[in-house]
Symmetry: C2
Subunit: 413 residues, 2 copies
């Protein structure tokens, strides 16, 4: 895309009321817009990055055998009353609204109830299991405070997958595969190294659940990690001696760190199935409740985490997998032949399907480079006098600053 | 995908309380699930069709120069108070909710206010215009009645594009291009022939707006059409003599028809720009309000319209452009060599990236064909005894019932 056609403009200052680094940078770079505390719009560059994060997660969920659906925001109270989670005293983040008829509805903060009820229409025999169902859907949470930018918002897209298994054993096999898929997702987004599979408290059906915690000073959570084992425990279970027995971790050797929870996986057991009547007939003809798990990742929170972790004092820094464009083509100088060379390279890249944002505006090199640094696109291609003469282009890696000289043909691959 | 792995099951009966044909068929075929009146989940097959509809619209919006964003559901009252549309007396479809702090918020039923306010951050000079911004975003409308299945719902994804132009003339040029793009969209989805560009009442800035109305008995609207001119007028303007002067239509020769409004385009003029302070400096240095237009299509309503219009007494019928899969591979008979041939063709098609749903279940030919008809996938490939012997496959066109004999190689293209 030609940057002269991009409607968003970078700016020097973030709004005064914005305290989170991720939102400050993303607003300055024109990736997002703040509607109010904890409520952000995604603008073209931000939506491209969010869409790439979603695409990576979708690929991994499909590889796990997940079937994608799209459930609704408006929630019928009934299944929530059956599970005991309708009351504001039990779930303290509800947004509720009212139909013209006076019936109160909820805005979904999660989807166990709705999906469990839905599955009663489609599961009856052991032959119908296991099933894995996921979605990318907007959740609403009535947070009292929302000061972490796009990492904790009142409205956000969440990938939530739910597993429906015959029993605890079949469940556990999938749970372990899902944990591995999560690690692959964070690897692919460039935050794998800093992200720890973290033991957290479980529920009636499992001793532990797992969080995926990315070590970062901006984190709201505290974890205790073993770098070697690439495992951690969270605050809830840190003082529970059993966690050390079952994991082999040594409490004394753990290091405390601030971290951001970028994902979590949870064994739900038969709680929702029993409350909502989701049962199957086993091979012996006996009715059994379905054994469930839930698996969440917030793409927006992951995006905020990448910003907190990888950006530098000049601006955003995107790994190529989630960069809004892979290349930022910047022409330097207003001579006609520079513009001509840059235009041609841009058209060539477009024709070859190579992603590129082209800064074709009549600004100074200094202004263009500063803005290019702020936007954080992975590779910057500079078109100046040299490039016109040689058809070889300077390519600057945003993260390391490393400069390479690259011939045109290689840029079209 | 193997149908044995699809979690949704087709069923004989729709829920007793469902009166709309589109929802009855889509529920029976496992495309959607009804949460409550006017609130539907999209299940895997339904989401695939919806996603294809969205992809077609996105292509056409990008071709118009549209930039995609994602605004929020939660609405700050302020810009709505400034435009005069916050009150329930003015807008009678509001859903509202409340922050913990007691502040009332709205759930977006449209996005003129939010986007106009946002654009004030990015538009200041005539050089910043024109701009075209669109999104696929969930709207909430507190409808009193919701009896038209997925054609009129309380929660639905809408494509809304907003144009920001320097003046009426620049606006009109885009408006005309957008109208043509809309016609192309409906053509590509197989309902172009029945869809009429329809004159409707305008506003302060334009004599007329345009609806795109698809002639269909299930429609809630009445239009008066000229088949030859491929134009229509709606009820609002039918008795306005000026519409005939300006369009050249002859009132006496128009035919009355029931129709579904599948899209609309509207000249907003400077109304929102003036209310919310969206102005630019013109080439002479004078401040001017931005001239706006809005352009809507509901992908779910389009999907419902396709069902109402094209389905038959055996079930759904999808044009290939929006069919959840292009092919439905159905094996007939339980002999090992039939299964082997069908398995191999399925794997071949997967390898070649040809979309296929494979009915690999151990059901009778009659059951499989009936369900295949209900699902409505464009082409059915039958693998029976003959195919095993000849490697030539019977391909049945769902819409016409026409049968072709097709060699394997052609199915892999």
């Amino acid at each position: 895309m030609r940057q002269s056609q991009l409607f968003t403009k970078a700016r020097r200052e973030a709004p005064a009321d914005e305290v989170a680094k991720n939102a400050q940078l993303l607003i300055r770079a024109g990736y997002i817009n703040k509607e109010m505390a904890g409520v952000y719009d995604y603008l073209p560059l931000g939506l491209r990055t969010l869409t790439k994060i979603i695409a990576i997660i979708r690929e991994e969920m499909n590889a796990l055998g997940g079937a994608e659906v799209l459930l609704t925001t408006l929630q019928d109270p009934q299944p929530w009353q059956e599970s005991g989670r309708w009351s504001d005293e039990v779930v303290d983040v509800w947004f509720k609204t009212v139909l013209k008829s006076g019936t109160e509805l909820g805005l979904a903060n999660t989807h166990e109830e709705a999906l469990t009820r839905l599955m009663t229409e489609h599961v009856s025999s052991y032959k119908d299991l296991p099933r894995y169902v996921y979605q990318f859907q907007t959740k609403f949470r009535n947070e009292i405070r929302a000061k972490s930018g796009i990492m904790r918002t009142r409205e956000f897209i969440m990938k939530d997958l739910y597993s429906f298994s015959r029993d605890a054993e079949e469940h556990q096999a999938f749970y372990d595969k899902a944990a591995t898929a999560y690690e692959r997702i964070f690897d692919r987004m460039g935050i794998g190294e800093q992200t720890y599979r973290t033991f957290a408290s479980g529920g009636s059906f499992s001793k532990y659940s797992h969080e995926f915690q990315t070590v970062c000073d901006a984190g709201e959570d505290t974890i205790y990690l073993d770098k070697e084992a690439k495992l951690a425990v969270n605050k809830e279970v840190y003082d529970d001696p059993e966690v050390y027995t079952s994991t082999g971790l040594d409490k004394a050797s753990l290091t405390e760190a601030k971290a951001i929870e970028v994902g979590n996986i949870f064994t739900l057991g038969t709680k929702y199935a029993e409350a909502l009547g989701l049962a199957y007939t086993d091979a012996e003809g006996k009715p059994q409740p379905v054994f469930m798990g839930s698996y969440g990742i917030g793409p927006g929170r992951v995006m905020g985490t990448i910003v907190e972790l990888l950006s530098d004092d000049k601006g955003l820094v995107w790994p190529e997998s989630v960069s809004p464009y892979a290349h930022h083509l910047v022409s330097v100088g207003k001579d006609e032949d520079i513009t001509k060379t840059a235009d041609e390279l841009y058209e060539d890249m477009q024709t070859h399907g190579v992603e590129v944002l082209y800064d074709d505006r009549g600004l100074s090199a200094g202004q263009k480079f500063a803005e290019s640094d702020l936007l954080g696109i992975t590779k910057r291609i500079v078109v100046g006098r040299d490039a016109v003469a040689t058809d070889i282009f300077e390519v600057v890696d945003r993260a390391s600053g490393a400069v390479a000289k690259v011939p045109r043909a290689e840029l079209l691959r």
